[in-house]
């Protein structure tokens, strides 16, 4: 049974396996390692995933979704046609697509997976990721923190060294910083911090905003599809800046053509506030680890957004150390997760690497504190497991009832760093029935166990009766029950998914359609004619003809797309 490793990203997802030769990425039907985390409905009302869906984000924004990872574990609904889905279900569709890519590539059934999550994900979000895996028909063996995976991808080769690393992961939508120490073949996570709402997409948004100013008052009136197109151009302009000092963009709408430009200096100016946000999580991770920046030996950059020069320069300024990027920053997490898959399977080549991780946030309960006047003040947070404690960990606190003869106690579980529970994230509630003697206080042990996958279990044992209660998350809006997951799994099974072998064809077709939308005048008619030709060839169902034309069109449409950026 093959164990695959999946990097379920905000913008792109990857799948990899561990073989005798080490980590190996698996290409999708399009022959690419990166599958965009986008899901949509095509014109035949079939579900499409990946590049196809991403292209349709421009042409059919109302029938396509991307960037849903931010909403894992929330009740936000995403509409696709007549049905609505949760972020878990959309993620499950991406996972399902990756799974079938792997099955085709490996020639075996794939049923077990390791999925990477941001270190910052809380319990609800982690459970949501598990649920997404299950809905895709995968048994999720373990979740791995993304920075840990990144360090594994880099760290394995230097297991004889003693090193302290900082892993800086600026992905599409999240920013994570972790400090790791390697010694004697042990990889230890010392601390992790981050910003769940900072990523490469925010830089793209800044460019879109700048373009909006250049466009002027017409910007507000742009249709959703024109906006999505502008965003796509902004993203390509951002990438263009790594080679050139300035780029010019041609942006076509139905009525007008705009010439927009972006220089390196301008980009630096508009992203100043975003760049400033990089400091705090780095500083916090270092101080949590009880270190100073000068104790750090290596800086590892992960995530596509670390390709930006301004990001690298700023990191160098902060740490006085040049970051390394031997591996492709987009591939690092998947490669590292595959190393972890090898570890879980106790693959021979990895026998001597052990790793420990930390719990990235403080977990505790609400307590009342007795004031000097004898009254009780509720709402205080009592930490049970402190942030950046090495996991697995199991800790016990003993609390008592406020009143004598109290018959019930309601225990609320929170995650966060504030002294007041109202500022922390509620995880769940546990009602414990007590049967005390009259006029006696009752005491009970609260045991928190946080396992290697970042799943929290709470056990409460009442002293007098020695009865134990286990926490089942209830009243938690973000968490799905087992029955619900099964139900959704069955519903997803029934969904009509666009067949894989046709994916390549429709990818080319949707790119042509997008080009048609973006262009004006004569070139449009040419594109339209080519679309008609391609449809005709597809009708014939002659595989060789189709493949020939597809390859030719792919190159052609690429040249058209590049006409917009110069």
């Amino acid at each position: 049974m093959t164990l695959v490793a999946i990097d379920l990203g905000t913008t792109n997802s990857l799948i990899a396996v561990f073989t005798e030769k080490g980590s190996e990425l698996i290409p999708n039907a399009m022959g690419e390692f990166l599958t965009p985390s986008a899901v949509g409905l095509n014109n035949a009302n079939e579900i499409v995933v990946g590049v196809e869906a991403k292209n349709r984000l421009v042409t059919h924004p109302e029938k396509t979704h991307a960037r849903f990872k931010r909403f894992m574990g929330t009740n936000k609904d995403f509409k696709l046609g007549r049905k609505t889905y949760r972020a878990e279900e959309l993620s499950a569709m991406v996972l399902r697509s990756l799974k079938s890519d792997a099955e085709r590539h490996l020639g075996t059934k794939v049923q077990r997976a390791i999925i990477s999550v941001p270190a910052y994900f809380n319990d609800v979000q982690r459970k949501a990721t598990y649920a997404a895996g299950e809905m895709a028909g995968l048994k999720v063996e373990r979740l791995i923190n993304e920075p840990t995976a990144a360090a594994l991808a880099y760290g394995l080769n230097s297991k004889d060294d003693e090193n302290t690393f900082i892993v800086i992961d600026l992905g599409g939508g999240t920013f994570d910083v972790s400090i790791l120490e390697i010694f004697e073949g042990i990889m230890e996570v010392r601390s992790s911090a981050g910003d769940a709402f900072l990523g490469g997409e925010d830089f793209t948004d800044a460019i879109v905003k700048d373009f909006g100013e250049q466009i002027g008052s017409d910007f507000e009136a742009l249709s959703p599809s024109a906006r999505a197109n502008l965003r796509d151009l902004a993203d390509r302009a951002k990438k263009g800046l790594s080679e050139k000092d300035a780029v010019k963009i041609k942006f076509n709408t139905k009525s007008k053509t705009y010439e927009l430009d972006l220089s390196r200096d301008r980009f630096e100016e508009i992203s100043k506030d975003l760049i400033k946000k990089l400091r705090l999580p780095i500083q916090r991770a270092i101080s949590d680890a009880g270190l100073r920046a000068e104790n750090i030996d290596r800086v590892v950059m992960v995530g596509g957004a670390t390709r930006m020069d301004i990001v690298r320069q700023h990191i160098t300024r902060l740490l006085k150390l040049f970051p390394e990027h031997r591996l492709d920053p987009d591939h690092v997490i998947a490669l590292g997760a595959a190393v972890q898959a090898g570890l879980v399977d106790r693959h021979e080549a990895l026998e001597d690497v052990v790793m420990t991780d930390v719990c990235p946030f403080t977990l505790g309960t609400e307590v009342a504190i007795e004031l000097p006047n004898g009254q009780h003040e509720g709402g205080h947070f009592q930490p049970v497991i402190e942030r950046n404690t090495v996991i697995p960990v199991s800790r016990v606190v003993t609390n008592g009832t406020i009143r004598k003869g109290q018959r019930e106690v309601t225990l609320q579980i929170f995650q966060g760093e504030s002294a007041w529970v109202r500022d922390n994230v509620p995880l769940g509630t546990l009602n414990v029935k007590l049967s005390p003697k009259k006029d006696e206080f009752e005491y009970f042990d609260i045991r928190f166990t946080y396992d290697v996958s970042g799943i929290l279990e709470v056990l409460v044992t009442v002293h007098s009766s020695q009865k134990t209660e286990r926490l089942i998350l209830e009243g938690n809006p973000g968490a799905l029950s087992k029955a619900e997951i099964d139900k959704r799994f069955k519903e997803l099974e029934k969904l009509k998914v666009h067949p894989k072998d046709k994916a390549e064809n429709s990818a080319v077709m949707s790119r042509l359609e997008r080009a048609y939308e973006n262009q004006l005048g004569d070139i449009r008619q040419v594109i339209q004619r080519r679309i008609a030709e391609f449809s005709a060839v597809l009708e014939t169902q002659k595989e060789t003809d189709i493949a020939l034309m597809r390859d030719e069109l792919m190159k052609w449409v690429e040249s058209i797309e590049n006409m917009d950026i110069f």
Binding site: F197, S287, L291, R292, A293, N388, P392, D451, V452
Partner: protein
């Protein structure tokens, strides 16, 4: 407490960090942390204890005090880290620390500087202080100085001196920038002493906690608003028809719709109390408006409807009052 040396399998106490790490690594390899949680925790505790013992012996070996410039005695991590530095390097570091401290005191001493966010910004974002280590020092300096100024280090039994150390209104406003810069307005602190200190400063400056990336969702509020409109129109139509034609059936329909509207309201209350509260005011307001319209429809003229206009006005005032009182009660409950 078990003897860490026995658990690690080391013969007697040692101050050699390398051999401790080696021993820990060897023992760790023998167990599977995912399955043997208690075994792992015992080993981990022994390892951390041993490291702590080594650290303590290092401090004892260097029996001189590190002057942090504030005399606070806080920030033990900071001290331990600096002790590890060779002496000349340590001197230059201490110099930077002193320079930061001097400049912070300068800003804090002058009203027009400390109440100006730009003065703090120019200080914090000085390119010479860009590196993380200097930024950490900077945070330490500013925190200690503010704590010192507002009496954190004073003995809590001497309550009399607390009253004269309140920040001015403008300083409070400026402090939002300072808090935001160091992330003190986010609920994210590890060591309990920093948590207490930051909480103390937050209370002094009345800076609210912001949780990163709070997405505002208008869903429930908007749904509720539209529901109120639809229900009001339906309910008033039913009651109007029932009273005009003496039809019991429409009265029952009206009552059912009212009950349904109430459950919608209760749901909105659970989801978003603030929104529901203001909409409760809105409900009253719209209710009187609905009454006005239906009664005019029934009578067919505006004549003699002045009493309705009176109700309309009273409804609007009542709505405003309920909203206000509700907000006050809610904020009191939240403050506890």
């Amino acid at each position: 407490m078990h003897d860490p040396w026995i658990i690690l399998g080391i013969d007697g106490p040692t101050t050699d960090l390398k051999s401790i790490k080696k021993a820990y690594a060897a023992r760790l390899r023998a167990i599977d942390p995912a399955k043997d949680i208690s075994g792992f925790m015992a080993l981990r505790q022994a390892y951390e204890q041993a490291q702590q013992l080594v650290e303590n012996s290092n401090i004892e070996a260097l029996p001189w005090e590190y002057d942090v410039g504030t005399g606070s005695g806080f920030g033990s991590l900071y001290e331990v880290e600096d002790i590890r530095q060779p002496e000349d390097e340590f001197e230059s570091k201490n110099e930077i620390y002193r320079a930061l401290d001097a400049r912070a005191r300068e800003i804090l001493a002058l009203t027009n500087l400390r109440e100006d966010p730009e003065a703090w910004r120019a200080f914090f974002e000085d390119p010479a202080y860009a590196s993380i280590d200097v930024q950490s020092d900077l945070e330490h300096v500013v925190r200690n100085l503010l704590l010192e100024t507002f009496g954190y280090f004073q003995d809590s039994s001497q309550n009399n001196s607390q009253d004269d150390s309140k920040p001015s209104r403008r300083f409070k406003k400026t402090a939002r920038y300072v808090f935001n810069y160091f992330g003190w307005d986010q609920p994210q602190f590890n060591q309990s002493f920093t948590r207490d200190q930051v909480e103390f400063l937050r209370q002094k400056f009345k800076v609210p906690i912001v949780s990163a990336g709070d997405d505002i969702e208008f869903g429930p509020a908007f749904n509720f608003l539209s529901a109120v409109f639809v229900y009001l129109i339906l309910i008033s139509a039913c009651f109007y028809y029932a009273s005009a034609n003496q039809k019991g059936f429409w009265l029952i329909i009206g009552l059912i719709l009212s009950a349904r509207a109430l459950t919608v309201y209760v749901k909105a209350w659970i989801v978003d109390r603030d929104a529901a509260l203001s909409f409760f005011g809105g409900l009253l307001f719209l209710g009187s408006l609905g009454y006005l319209i239906t009664s005019v429809m029934r009578e067919g003229s505006w004549e003699g409807r002045l009493d309705v206009l009176y109700w309309f006005g009273a409804g609007a005032v009542g709505a405003g009052l309920i909203w206000l009182v509700g907000r006050v009660i809610l904020s009191l409950i939240r403050r506890r």
